[in-house]
Structure formats: C-alpha cells, structure tokens
C-alpha cells in the first residue's frame, strides 16, 4: 500500500513534469478535460491527453491483471459529487492535480489555499456523511 502509493505518486509527478517540459502545459486535469470537451478547436492536444489518461489504466491492467475497484456509491453521491466537482473546479480554476500537485510545486499561494480548502471541506463532508448515513 505504501510502496504503490509512492510509486503511483512518482508517476503522476513525472507525467506533470514531462507535460510542462515537452508541451509547455500544466497537468491540471479539470482544465484539460474542459478543453477536450468544450474548447477542442484551440487546444486539441487536450483530447489526446484524455485518451492517454484512459489508456494508462488499461496498460496497467494488461501488465498487472485487471483490478477494477468496487463502485458501490449511491446514485445521489455520483450525481451530486459530479455536479459539485465540475462546478467547483471551474469556479476555483483547478482540482487535485492542477492545484494540489502542479500549483503547489510552482509555489503558487493560490494553489496552496485552494488545496487546503478542498481538503478541509472534503474532511468535513465525509465526517457529516458518517454521522448522517
């Protein structure tokens, strides 16, 4: 668990470095997905990144055997979670990757504030769900 977390994190960090080094772009997934869907005319590379993002797990499954996680969320969690994640990442200009990895690494105070904020509200949300559900 510890070794795979670190190894996975290293891959994410290396991918973020390579995207900036070779293409000059920040690996912020919410923005990349937004561009791939809504602004493809201007940033067509975003779609190939998104395709890669799906191919990566397939590659791991091919090497390691398939190990799909169990998705047993309630459908209200899926719908509400998706809506808030989409809305919040657009309003706050980033998500876990853009703010949490790239932004913090760039030394952006904005990203440090954003990351602390979504960590805190995430913890509070899970705490409340634990009390209520």
């Amino acid at each position: 668990m510890i070794a795979t977390s670190i190894f996975g994190g290293l891959l994410i960090g290396l991918a973020s470095v390579c995207l900036m080094l070779f293409a000059g772009r920040i690996a912020g997934i919410s923005s990349i997905v937004y561009r791939a869907i809504f602004q493809l005319k201007f940033e067509s590379w975003a779609l190939t990144f998104v395709i890669g993002l799906v191919l990566g797990p397939l590659l791991v499954a091919a090497l390691n055997g398939p190990a799909a996680p169990v998705f047993d969320l309630a459908w209200w969690q899926v719908a509400l979670g998706g809506l808030l994640v989409g809305f919040g990442s657009r309003l706050g200009s980033g998500c876990t990757s853009g703010h949490g990895v790239c932004g913090i690494s760039r030394g952006s105070a904005r990203s440090v504030v954003a990351t602390l904020t979504f960590m805190v509200t995430g913890v509070i949300t899970v705490f409340i769900m634990g009390m209520v559900l």
């Binding site: 891959l11 797990p57 904005r110």
Partner: protein, 142 residues
C-alpha cells in the same frame, strides 16, 4: 504532431499513476478524508511523492529553460489573486470530492473500467462545469 504524442504519453503515465496509487478507488479517497474514522492516510504519500518530483523541476529547472521541447512557450496560470471565487470554488470542489470519492483525473481514468457510475459522474461533472460558465459569464472567464 509531437505535442499530441507527448500529451498521449504523459496522459497514459498520469493515468497509470492514478491506478497504481489507488486514487481511482472512491473508497480510498473517502477513507483518506475520514480522519476521525477509519483513516487511510497513505494517499497523502501520493501527493507528497508527486510534489517531490514536480517541485524541484518547477522551482529550479523550468526557470532556466526558454521554451518547451515541442511548442512555442510555457503556459502557466497568470492569476495570483486569492479571492472569493477561488476559495468558494475549492470549497465546493472539496464537498463533491468527499461526497463521491472522485475527482476529475480518477474519473476519466476510470472510463477504462466501463463502470456506469463513472459515466454518470462525468456527465454530472460536465454539467457542473457548464453551470459555472453560465454563472461566470460574461464578466470573468478562466
């Protein structure tokens, strides 16, 4: 052409990292956020490891480079304002992250599992993005 190959390869590396690290499992994310319950702290290592690789590059290597290997220039966010919009957006994002245990990267990577809940999440996420656009336009566009 090379920028597309770069995007494909880095996307694949990123997606592999998400799976290997356990980020694509909502139970892991919610376990990580459940600090007062059955806390699973190991996902913090994912972020620390990613930053350990990216921070030295962004701090010490990138400033010495004039342009990317393929492409005209390095593009980075210009805004430095810590405003209501940033904090409110991040706060809302965190609530959605906690509710579902999913964020944009793992949700896209999760397409590989052909899991109906992933597609439902992505559809809701795109609607949420568009709602934010509607709220923000035409005054402020990111």
């Amino acid at each position: 052409m090379m920028i597309y190959l770069t995007a494909l390869a880095t996307g694949a590396m990123f997606g592999a990292g998400l799976v290997v690290s356990g980020m694509t499992d909502p139970a892991n994310i919610q376990g990580f956020l459940d600090v007062t319950g059955a806390w699973r702290p190991h996902l913090a290592l994912v972020m620390i490891a990613a930053i350990a690789v990216a921070l030295p590059f962004f701090q010490w290597v990138l400033p010495r480079l004039s342009k990317p290997v393929y492409g005209a220039s390095f593009l980075a966010p210009l805004s430095t304002a810590i405003d209501q919009r940033l904090v409110l957006g991040a706060a809302i994002f965190g609530i959605g992250w906690g509710v579902s245990g999913l964020c944009p990267g793992p949700a896209i990577a999760g397409i590989a599992y052909l899991e109906p809940q992933i597609f439902g999440f992505l559809a809701a996420m795109l609607i949420g993005m568009r709602l934010a656009d509607r709220l923000l336009s035409p005054s402020a566009k990111a």
